[in-house]
């Protein structure tokens, strides 16, 4: 690092950023900056953009690894096949259901946890450490833990729930199996949600809450009129992150039902077509459709909350 470069950074704090670089120094700074980010950009493009382009290319072929010589260009036919297949819509429907239910439940429970954690003074470390345990545990392990818990052969759930028969098979039908998968997902990711909300909660000014209290607002009014509106950015980031994550749901389903009883998600269908059945053509078309739906969901959530992401993160 050279002295001239440090001096430039010093000047920079006084001039508003974003102006086109004019001096030699700022040009040198721009070059250095671009050099430093280049490895990251190149790698990110190599591991995501390139395979994605390859997926788009492969999706236009009838291409099966079991008969690689029969590969032929079929245009958009893979997409037509996927979009006209009821299985595609059924897995998409169940994926949306997983996403909506888990994120909604996590938002409520996570907010409750965040309120408790925000208030406690004693045992703060203990609570924060334990809340990280579900976050840290491998999804596959949490899937196993809950699968065994719900299993009527080795589990305890049937014994503990008084209204459930002890021989009830949770994995024998769609609805209970979906519930079991959701429980595992919610257990694992609620702590993450609550930590994000806790950070948002810490940003709400105590003065405003006090002022509302002096003006005679009830606890409920303070929550809805002061706390929640001021946390909008944090809530949106949490919902966006979790929703996109939940839409990719795969690990829990793989471990708990292996897709049986119509619990299969869109990610699972894509995996099954490409890796298990070697249908790279149709599998790639599904990959592209999955990607498009994730982009759509992200767009919808950002629109819904009307928050500028960059601003929420104080990017400026």
């Amino acid at each position: 690092m050279t002295t001239s470069y440090v001096a430039t950074a010093g000047e920079d704090t006084s001039t508003p950023s974003g102006k086109p670089p004019t001096s030699d120094r700022s040009r040198a700074e721009a070059r250095l900056g671009q050099k430093l980010v280049a490895p990251a950009i190149i790698l990110m493009l190599l591991v995501t953009a390139f395979p994605m382009l390859r997926a788009i290319y492969l999706s236009t072929f009838n291409y099966s690894l079991t008969a690689p010589d029969d590969r032929e260009f079929i245009g958009l036919n893979n997409y037509i096949t996927a979009l006209t297949d009821p299985l595609f819509w059924q897995t998409t429907g169940i994926t949306v259901l997983y996403m909506v239910v888990t994120v909604a439940v996590e938002l409520v429970i996570g907010f409750g946890f965040a309120m408790v954690m925000h208030r406690i003074i004693f045992a703060r470390g203990v609570i924060r450490t334990s809340i990280l345990i579900p976050y840290g545990i491998i999804t596959v392990v949490s899937g196993f833990a809950w699968q065994f818990a719900f299993s009527y052969q080795n589990g305890f759930v049937n014994d503990w729930l008084p209204f459930i028969d002890s021989t009830f098979n949770w994995f024998g039908e769609t609805t209970p199996a979906v519930i079991a998968i959701m429980v595992s997902e919610i257990w694992k990711t609620t702590p993450f949600m609550s930590l994000l909300l806790l950070a948002g909660l810490a940003q709400v000014s105590e003065d405003m809450i006090e002022a509302a209290k002096v003006d005679g607002a009830t606890w409920w009014q303070r929550l809805w009129k002061v706390i929640l509106p001021n946390m909008r950015a944090a809530i949106m980031v949490a919902v966006l992150f979790r929703a996109l994550d939940a839409y990719r749901i795969f690990d829990n389903i793989f471990v708990m039902t292996a897709g049986a009883q119509k619990t299969e998600s869109i990610s699972f269908l894509t995996y099954r077509q490409t890796i298990e059945q070697f249908q790279l053509g149709i599998g790639s078309a599904l990959s592209v459709l999955l990607f498009i739906s994730v982009v759509l969901i992200a767009f919808l959530i950002v629109k819904l909350f009307r928050v500028d992401l960059a601003q929420a993160r104080q990017e400026g």
Binding site: V6, D12, A30, L32, G33, Q34, L36, V37, A40, I41, L43, M44, V47, T48, P51, M52, R54, A55, L58, F113, V116, M117, A123, I127, R128, S130, I133, P134, G136, T139, V140, V141, S142, A145, A149, F156, D159, W160, W187, L195, L196, A199, G200, Q203, A233, A238, R248, F250, D251, F254, S267, T270, Y271, T274, I275, L280, S287, F291, A298, E315
Partner: protein, 276 residues
């Protein structure tokens, strides 16, 4: 009244977080026969205990031992590489003015939301052609797709908080640029880099989709994939207690990290996502 609510809330959080963990630990100490006889119950029961036998069996399982070594090696290398590359980028983002700064952050954000399964098909095809299928690099490279964005976000949020003026102050006091950087900035940046490394390691250790799709033998199969394919001697009866012991073993490194670095992880998680 309010205090009671908080205490109850704390109890609820603790039960929430620890119940399944306690359950899987309890299961891992049960004998296989007690489980096949049905409903062994939540707590350890008289006559159903296997002692450390399940753990010994897991340890003596070659497949399982390989998977642990693979996971440790692959996750550590992926973490090291992505934190190194992300540190350069994050430093530039926090400190320098240049075109394309926003682009890097936006790109990282988009990639962080990318459905991993979408990459699996083309990578499967490409890796087989390049000879990367079922190798360590064959997993390390795809892991970059989710560890890099995470590391870039966490680090750039962290670096922005560093008072860079201190570097100049040190220079005014007679230090050279390099001394100022090494003595002042490096110690300030180190905790952030470390936090990013822990989070990155978490993500890599947790990966499942790449782990099951891009490997076929114990040459590179990581522990989550290995656990899910573990059937034991009787393919029709999954050995629940043995699997539970394996799950506990796979979880121990993570829990140790959590216990030791709790404060850093919370700071890193929240600063990376919501700047607070």
């Amino acid at each position: 009244m309010r205090k009671l609510g908080t205490v109850l809330g704390c109890a609820l959080i603790l039960v929430w977080c620890l119940l399944p963990v306690a359950w899987i630990i309890s299961l891992s100490f049960k004998s296989q026969s007690a489980i096949t006889n049905g409903s062994p119950g939540f707590l350890p029961a008289e006559g159903a205990n296997a002692g450390w036998q399940n753990y010994i069996d897991v340890w003596n399982n070659e497949q399982f031992r390989r998977a642990i070594i693979n996971s440790i090696g692959i996750s550590l290398i992926a973490t090291l590489l992505s934190v190194m590359i992300a540190t350069l980028a994050a430093y530039a983002i926090a400190r320098l003015e240049f075109k394309g700064k926003k682009l890097v952050l936006t790109m990282a954000l988009v990639i962080a939301m990318f459905p991993v399964v979408s990459l699996v098909g083309p990578l499967f095809d490409m890796w087989r052609a390049f000879g990367l299928y079922d190798t360590w690099p064959g997993l390390i490279i795809p892991y970059m797709s989710f560890t890099l964005p995470l590391a870039i976000w966490t680090l750039s949020a962290f670096f922005r908080e560093i008072p860079w003026e201190m570097e100049q102050a040190a220079q005014v006091d007679g230090a050279t640029s390099w001394q100022a950087f090494r003595r002042v900035i490096v110690p300030l940046a180190a905790p952030g880099v470390f936090t990013a490394a822990i989070l990155t390691f978490f993500f890599a250790w947790n990966d499942f989709v790449f782990g099951i799709s891009l490997t076929s033998t114990e040459a590179a199969r990581p522990i989550p994939a290995s656990l899910s394919f573990f059937v034991g001697t009787d393919p029709f009866n999954r050995p629940a207690s043995l699997l539970a012991a394996g799950a506990v073993v796979a979880t121990i490194p993570i829990v140790l990290i959590v216990l030791i670095f709790q404060r850093k992880i919370v700071a890193g998680l929240t600063s990376g996502a919501v700047k607070g």
